[in-house]
Subunit: 404 residues, 2 copies
């Protein structure tokens, strides 16, 4: 029997470790592989041969791993470029040295592209090596799935903090605006999810070109109507010409995505400068939402774990490579108002490098939020809470493998 | 029998409504007062006669009120100035009109000063009127108590988000600093509490004059030693000359306190400009910590509720006025490593207008965090979680009375 390798990439989430736990646990239930190695820091550390043996992780540690936020193996921003045969060859050498046949890669769009590229390359140059993707992203922007693991928990945190900060805001009489900024570079799923609370007066998404005059007119209306205006903005909100609202300078990360931040501060200043109200409060969720240890969605942690199981189980088929596992909503159940899912697998190429935007038909005009269809989509995802193992008043977490 | 009035003032907390619930419930258990009126928006709405009858709030609503963050009666920043006889007379007139003998005021230092001023004034001009304080403040800076209701829950949130964002930060290999900004204008209790997580490399408190060179030297050391540096800064951190670190302009609120924000961004830029690392991440907890609906401390919610009960029960004594109820740690129990408390009442003047800073002897030199004594003080406060009543995946909350 050969061994397998599992690694994590991209931005951490609240449940990316649940998928990792699923892979490890599946191999304990059915030892298809002799050893399960964790590649530290995604492709980056794996290429340096930094592996951690996860095969015999104790049951209790697996339980704690499921509730540990962030990437317990460490993550990376390093992207394997297509045509970079040296890196591909090096990875295969490292796999050979440890008798690894199969690599599971847990990540977002870019990582699924890596899975596709590696599987295609291996077909010709290393046909015994297999590459399998497990999706995650708080952005919820992968195309062929109903939703991405990580998103439901991030949405649950966003809704909780949105409602709590709305109540805080609503306790005051003084005229001021409140602007909550939520992660979301190219897709506004996370920002839109906060409409579940019923507290959001105006919602600014990347999917709609921002029009300053139209926006300010709506802010003025809200203050005229109800004396308050609670605004949620996606970090990726932009003008018609593509310029981001965020005030800060746009630096670049390794993936040539703009590093965003400051859209909320921009809106606040805009409202003050327009003379609508003299004050504003900005709350930026930033990383507090994406990988929380206090607010996993039960649906999310279960699905992420099950996707880890599913990827491992499907890999017992020696022809299974270049595939990604995913979750689809059961249409018949949804029509009856129930939430149920189907697990499936599809070609990594269909997951990679596309961005599923928040549907235009779910966006109400004039920044008034989202339709009932959108709320019906979000509601079941944030349902339920796992029973957390606590330690001194805080959720217990596992020491990251990259810090041992 | 006469009636009573209860109002809330100052910044909301996660448990200020638990104290309100305690007052309402106490009167259902022993109807010392015919009616329990809630004054909307503290003194401000009360002076306008905006009262809400809370006497018969259903048991289920009382349970939900206990877990509802922010101030369900609304709050204010309006301060009754000593010598403002017109306002005092007006308040007494409003109390007379509703046959109200006793006012319970839930608030921080300034509100306890209001209780003291009103009680003193009433002694001469309206001897039948009584004013009783119930403390709250996430800043934890009231003098005669061991800790203030609201602080333990805020500390629990701060610790949870600190640990989660540390794990997020620790997943990366790239050289960058992380700076978490926490509320705390004049006292660093909340920032210091995050040291419970064991994740904090450097801690910047208002109690210690900030020295840029010394700080940067410590940042450099951490990167040299461990390749990372997780920093927590209190919003009120300042230089020796009293100037705040916060980059933003200092506006003034009604209480002549500077409005702060931006200390973390200042530190991040400082580190980048010094060439220590090329990047930094800022997370500002801001209002997400002070009145959360997802992370009450069980100790906190119970104590806040019990203080509401205690204030009402003690008010059965007709001479009880100008007093504030509070919690002291049981010294004998603490010596045995157990957490227990004693409830007491003391003159409002002792609670008002003093700031209890974080003890100098608990601060380690060179921004290295806090002593074991400090950790032993914090630990029991964040223990335990109430069993929340959930509604569609979010903690159920009561519609604020000021929004009905």
């Amino acid at each position: 029997m050969a061994n397998c390798l599992v690694a994590q990439s991209g931005g951490p989430t609240a449940v990316i470790n649940a998928s990792l736990a699923g892979v490890i646990r599946a191999n304990q239930l059915n030892p298809v592989y002799d050893r399960v190695f964790g590649g530290l820091h995604g492709i980056e550390g794996t290429l340096e041969g930094k592996l951690y043996d996860l095969t015999d992780l104790p049951s209790r540690d697996i339980d704690v791993l499921k509730q540990t936020p962030s990437s317990a193996l460490g993550t990376c921003r390093y992207k394997l470029k297509r045509g970079n045969d040296a890196d591909y060859r090096r990875l295969v050498d490292i796999m050979d040295a440890r008798d690894i046949s199969t690599m599971f890669y847990i990540g977002g769009n870019d990582s699924m592209d890596t899975v596709d590229a590696l599987a295609s390359w291996a077909q010709e140059h290393a046909p015994s090596k297999r590459f399998i993707g497990i999706p995650k992203t708080v952005d919820n922007d992968l195309v062929p799935v109903d939703h991405c693991p990580g998103f439901p928990s991030a949405a649950k945190v966003a809704c909780q903090i949105a409602h709590a900060t709305y109540l805080d805001y609503a306790a005051y009489t003084r005229p001021e605006a409140f602007v909550l900024e939520v992660m979301g570079r190219d897709a506004g799923w996370l920002a839109a999810s906060t409409c579940v609370t019923g507290d959001v007066d105006l919602l600014i998404l990347p999917e709609t070109s921002f029009n300053k005059d139209a926006f300010l007119a709506e802010v003025q209306k809200k203050f005229d109507q109800k004396g308050e205006c609670y605004i949620v903005v996606s970090e990726g909100a932009r003008y018609a010409d593509g310029a981001y609202l965020s005030a800060g300078e746009a630096a670049n990360d390794g993936f040539a995505h703009a590093v965003l931040g400051g859209a909320a501060a921009t809106l606040k200043q805009m409202i003050i400068d327009a003379g609508i109200v003299p004050r504003g409060v900005v709350q930026d969720l930033s990383r507090a939402a994406r990988s929380s240890n206090f607010s996993q969605s039960l649906v999310d942690v279960n699905e992420a774990y099950d996707l880890g199981l599913s990827a491992h189980m499907r890999s017992a088929d020696p022809t299974f490579t270049g595939q990604v596992v995913g979750v689809r909503r059961n249409v018949a159940a949804a029509a009856e108002g129930r939430y149920d899912t189907e697990f499936f697998a599809g070609p990594a190429s269909e997951f990679a490098n596309f961005v599923k935007q928040f549907p235009a038909e779910w966006i109400l005009p004039d920044y008034q939020g989202v339709t009932e269809e959108a709320i019906a989509y979000f509601r079941p995802l944030i349902e339920g809470e796992p029973k957390l193992i606590m330690d001194g008043g805080l959720p217990a977490t596992l020491t990251p493998f990259n810090k041992r």
